[in-house]
């Protein structure tokens, strides 16, 4: 389906995840963060960049992996995105929701 985010019409799935990463830009990331009630700091952006790079390299994401990313530890990850961190961070980053149970 289509959604107007930050003045741009993009394709999203029923959960609001962008289906085409090429449509993502920083303004869209900021608008999605606002929707998720997350105030983005440089640390958030560092993590978003990390997530986008991992997804680009087709490397599966998990909480454990984020903890070993060198960007944040797991405690910090939950502090940055208090509500469902992996789901929220990937949505803001414009990448698919990870199908991970760990």
């Amino acid at each position: 389906m289509e959604k107007l985010i930050a003045g741009k019409t993009v394709q999203v799935n029923e959960e609001g995840y962008l289906t085409n990463f090429n449509e993502w830009n920083k303004e869209i990331g900021e608008a999605l963060a606002l929707e998720a009630q997350v105030a983005l700091t440089p640390k958030h952006w560092e993590l978003i960049n990390y997530i986008q790079t991992e997804v680009k390299n087709e490397s599966p994401l998990s909480i454990r992996k984020i903890g070993k990313s060198g960007v944040v530890d797991i405690k910090d990850f939950y502090a940055l995105f208090p509500n469902a961190p992996l789901k929220t961070a990937t949505k803001i980053a414009g990448v698919p929701k990870p199908a991970s149970c760990i």
């Binding site: 599966p60 909480i63 454990r64 903890g67 405690k75 509500n83 469902a84 961190p85 760990i102």
Partner: protein, 160 residues
């Protein structure tokens, strides 16, 4: 379906067994709750205490006897070394799935905000002290105290 539309807000998971498949099931459920933004607390009772006993938690095993899903004759499962073999095979498979070892998993749970409680009665039965346990254990509770922790709308309790 009036409470938050039936949404789960908090999972209270009781672990009463220490065979590794049960421990992992409980840990994955607790961690999975946090990943969804659901609160989670765990209560370790009876043999489940081994999963938070500092000297034992690194040496948990798969049960090869009395476990029909192993598809192994009970007598074979009882042979020396069989549990160790099945355990190491299972651990290899789990590592492939990015599943951490028990200790690292406990650390992940704590970092994710899961509360870990030991059952007072079982602690006394096994003559364990708080000092014997995983250092980040939140405390030792009675059943009544644990029920109190579950207070609130959308709390669910699960026994493993």
């Amino acid at each position: 379906m009036s409470e938050y539309n039936g949404e789960i807000r908090k999972m209270m998971i009781i672990l009463s067994k220490a065979s590794i498949e049960n421990v992992y099931a409980a840990f994955v459920l607790a961690n999975g709750a946090r990943m969804e933004g659901i609160e989670a607390e765990m209560f370790f009772t009876f043999f489940g205490l081994e999963a938070v006993h500092n000297k034992k938690l690194d040496h948990l095993h798969v049960a090869t006897v009395g476990n029909p899903a192993m598809h192994m004759p009970t007598m074979l499962g009882g042979l020396p070394g069989m549990e160790a073999l099945a355990t190491s095979m299972m651990k290899k498979e789990m590592e492939k799935l990015d599943m951490p070892e028990v200790r690292e998993f406990l650390e992940i749970l704590k970092a994710s905000g899961v509360k870990l409680w030991a059952c007072k009665l079982a602690m006394e039965m096994f003559h364990y002290e708080k000092a014997d346990m995983f250092p980040e254990l939140d405390g030792v509770l009675t059943v009544g105290d644990f029920y109190k922790q579950a207070t609130g709308i959308g709390a669910h309790m699960l026994f493993i």
